[in-house]
Amino acid sequence: MTTQLPPGLEIEKLDERIMTLNVGPQHPGSGHMRLIVKVDGDYIVSCDPDPGYVHRGEEKMAEYRNYITNIPHLERPVIHDSCNILYPYCLGVEEILGLEVPERAKYLRVIASELNRCVYTQYWLAIYGIFLGHSTMFMWPAGDRELLIDALEKMTGARVTHAYFVPGGIRNDVPANFEDMLLRRVDYFEKRIKEYAAIFYDNPILISRTRDAGILSREDAIRLGTTGSTLRASGVDFDVRTKEPYDVYEELDVKVNTLKAGDSYARSKIPWLDMLDSCNIIRQAVQKMPKSGSVRVKLKPNPKGGNTEVYKRVESGRGSLGCYIISDSKPEPYRVKMSVGSFRNLICIPYLLKGEKLGNMPAVYWSLNYWPVEADR
């Protein structure tokens, strides 16, 4: 036990010109995190992100629960994207326990995770819109995402915290006539999000605020180890769904959207393009899915694996999401580590905001597709 401060916590002396601003954690422009911003006039000299306000110790909690009881709490970091955050955990546990997932469950998993990607992205887009002062862009996505939330509710039984994926398949099969209802909704949803281009993405005010703000070059995107839309907006063609396909993504036609500019505008556009692509993936998956069959394998109570470790990754709404599980032949995992996209993109915040105008801060910060709760875990 120690009460001594670790090195690096000393109080530093500042220049007369420099002013320190605390943005957050209560400020609505920062989410549940604090940005310690030093400004010289209107320009940001340095920015020090201070996450941790919503740290819940998910990884520690996972050491106390068995593989099945870990499911509901591990999805809590991103409840809007709860299928995707559970996906690598379930893939990992399946490898540890040696389970083979039924074919129909694999397709239903893909459908659920693509729907979740859209639901998450709509939520993020609503926040991005309102922080750029575009309140219609808050109302539209917030309303349209209800369409898919309803579809997910029929599928899983819960609006946002689905806990739908379990090692060995999914919790329950979908109701009768689900496919027709889903396709109708997806068609309408696609029509709706195409309308966002006219009001938001082609809007000269948005373009003037976000174009050339916070440019991340291709080399730096790679060096900083960014992921997801941040990486693909800088021209790197990397998507786990195509590079290391899991479940049935190999049989589906997944388009990887990339843009070359690397600025906030490109970063804000990639998730929208991904949503359009998700609609296509859902249609393909519904078409190819076996029309009947089991959706989960029966597990023994308190299942346990051998002395082994796995690292599985999937593409979530915020980029590659890895899960590292160590098993030591006990029903509880020895260690669960979630390497989440938001935490990996955190490194961009000090890097991109340095030298930027303070007014550009929300445009750059939210374009990173950063979800503070997920980064803190």
Binding site: M1, T2, T3, Q4, P6, P7, G8, L9, P51, G52, H55, G57, E59, K60, M61, Y64, I222, R223, L224, G225, L231, V236, F238, K243, E244, E309, Y311, R313, S320, G322, Y324, I326, Y334, R335, K337, S339, F343, R344, L346, I347, D376, R377
Partner: protein, 180 residues
């Protein structure tokens, strides 16, 4: 009609290691010999264990010669029975399309103290931040969660925990959640 039963052909278990992954592991083994231990070679996953004295050299080789260019995750794992704390780097590559599906696991170990004093005890490792810039925040998290001090890291501060946290580093096995 023959009464003889046809016996099922017993297939030998595929013992062959995946070729591409094996070639990466062989390159490492050839270059460093006994300095590295290849712990497993599975499809798309290789695990390399290295002592803390050699970790910088091996990591530099992995970046420059094997073209892994970023860290996906840095996890600390506590092994109280072996009196060691392991730090596991999962490295990936964006630049080399052949390596896109590969994840190279680089593991190294630091001595573990019974009564830790993070930053001032022998639980230290060289930081890989000069080699893989992307480990910066991951190593900070590892420092506060397990008390591993990374020498050469420019910013060894707390990240997620409260500033006044004065208990054990919480991801050590001897830190118990109250009430469980």
């Amino acid at each position: 009609m023959s009464t003889e039963e046809t016996k099922p052909v017993v297939k030998a278990e595929a013992k062959e290691l995946p070729a591409f992954e094996k070639s990466i592991a062989d390159t490492l083994e050839k270059k460093f010999g006994s300095k590295t231990t290849i712990e497993f070679v599975k499809p798309t996953r290789i695990r390399v264990k290295v002592s803390k004295e050699n970790v910088l050299e091996v990591a530099k080789f992995i970046r420059d010669e094997l073209h892994f260019d970023h860290a996906e995750s840095v996890s600390g794992v506590d092994y109280p029975s072996q009196k060691e704390i392991e730090v596991v780097y999962h490295l990936g590559s964006y630049t080399d399309p052949e390596l896109a599906k590969q994840v190279l696991t680089l593991a190294t170990r630091a001595p573990r103290e019974e009564n830790p004093n993070p930053g001032n005890d022998s639980t230290r490792l060289p930081s890989l931040r000069e080699i893989f810039y992307s480990v910066e925040f991951h190593e900070r998290e590892c420092f506060e969660m397990l008390g591993v001090f990374f020498e050469g890291h420019p910013d060894n501060r707390r990240l997620l925990l409260p500033e006044d946290w004065a208990d054990l580093p919480p991801l050590r096995r001897d830190f118990k959640i109250k009430g469980r």
